[in-house]
Every structure is written in C-alpha cells, then in structure tokens.
Symmetry: C2
Subunit: 106 residues, 2 copies
DNA sequence: TCTAGTACTATGTATTGTCAAGTACTAAAT
DNA sequence: ATTTAGTACTTGACAATACATAGTACTAGA
C-alpha cells in the first residue's frame, strides 16, 4: 500500500476511533489495521502526539491477558479537532475524486 | 489545507494531468492548484522525480510570453504507473470513506 | 527602466510513517 | 521448570515528500 496516502489520515482514523469509546494502544492498532494496513510503530507515536497536543487524556488499567494497558480518552479539544480534520478530509477527498472521475472518462 | 493529505496524491494528479496531454511545469502548477492548493516549489521536484523514474520524457519549446518552457510527455511506463497509483488511491480513499461514513452516523 | 507576469531551479526544514529492536507481562505447551 | 506465543508499549534511526524562500531569466507594457 502507498505509504504516503496515509499521512494525516491515520490521525483522523485514530481520533474517530477513540471518539467512539476509550481505547488502548494495541486495540487501536488492530482497529486501524482493519481500515488501512498499518504498523505498530506508527500508531503509538500518533497517540503520544495527540496526547501532548491535548486531544487525549490517558489512564492505566490492568489486564488479565498481559501487561498494563494505557487507555486513551478524547477531550473536548479532541472532539473539536476530530470534526475539523474530518471536514478537511471530506473536502480534500471529494475534490480529488471529482477530478479523478473526470479524468478516467476521457 | 492539511498538508499531509496531499502526500502521494500530488503525484497521482500530476500523472493524470500529463496523461491528458503534454504540459509544461508552470501550466501544471496552475492545473493542480484548481484541484488542491499547492505550491510552485512542490510541483517542480515531483516533475523531476517522475522524469528520473522514467514516467515522463521532456522537451523544450520557446514561448512568446516568457522564458523557454519544459514540456512533459508521459511514457508507456508512466501510463502504467498512473493506472497503478489511481487504483491504489481509489482503494485507499473508499476504504477510509466507508469507515468515516459509519463513524459519523453513530 | 521599472514592474508584472511567466517559467524554472535549488536548498534547507518540518512532518509523519516505517522498520527494527527491546522490555515485560500472562498463559499454555514442552 | 523452561520455552513459546500472544499481548502491550517504547524508542531511535531512517525515508519520503510538501513547504518556504530565494534566485535566475525572459517578455511586454507603463
């Protein structure tokens, strides 16, 4: 898969998935992987960045199946950000797709 | 506009526009700008890269309105590449959009 | 001759995804 | 008792690509 296409979009996907309900990192890797192929080492840095930027809050919880899980919870700022990025993506994708469709017909 | 979304997509747009007919750089900047906001200093490096990779051939032509123009012509390899990248983009965008639509409804 | 528009090039920077390796916990298999 | 597989997170070096800025140079009109 084209690596470049993912840039920025992974952030959007992570925001939307955490918005749904609180998630821990590993769970997110699996959830995002269902949509686009993605690497473990890609998701964790995004989570750290989005937390640093105030879009997520975190808390720890034990697990019976392995080590402690770090859960991510979206903040009000994160909700706003997810709406903005979603709008930008929708506008961008539809603009590109409109052109692409016209281009294919010719 | 979100810079990251453009990564990889600009290459696709440039390929499709040159596929239509031969173009020179400045013309491409304007054509791509109609689809997504883009910088001059972004398009020229893409043209150089795609030429180096054998997707474009170039030739020079004089102009009455300014300095010499460098025209880009798509090669057979470039045609193939444009088809591949287009397929990848279509698959990627529809996968993301399917998820996004489901996410918005909730 | 000065300015605006056209046309291309070069360079340094920032962002973000990938890869690889490492730590560490639990549970089941040997 | 030890090894292996699955879960869970972190870190650091690396690659790709878009942006900003600046510079060169040509033409035409004020």
């Amino acid at each position: 898969m084209n690596t470049q296409f993912k840039k920025g979009v992974l952030e959007l996907l992570v925001l939307l998935i955490v918005k749904e309900k609180d998630r821990y990192g590993y769970e997110l890797v699996e959830a995002v992987s269902k949509i686009v192929d993605v690497n473990e080492g890609t998701i964790y840095p995004i989570l750290k960045r989005l937390s640093n930027e105030g879009y997520f809050e975190t808390y720890l919880e034990e697990s019976k199946e392995g080590p402690v899980r770090k859960y991510y919870h979206i903040t009000a700022l994160g909700m706003k950000q997810s709406e903005n990025v979603l709008k930008e993506w929708t506008a961008f994708a539809s603009s590109v797709n409109d052109f692409v469709k016209g281009s294919v017909k010719k």
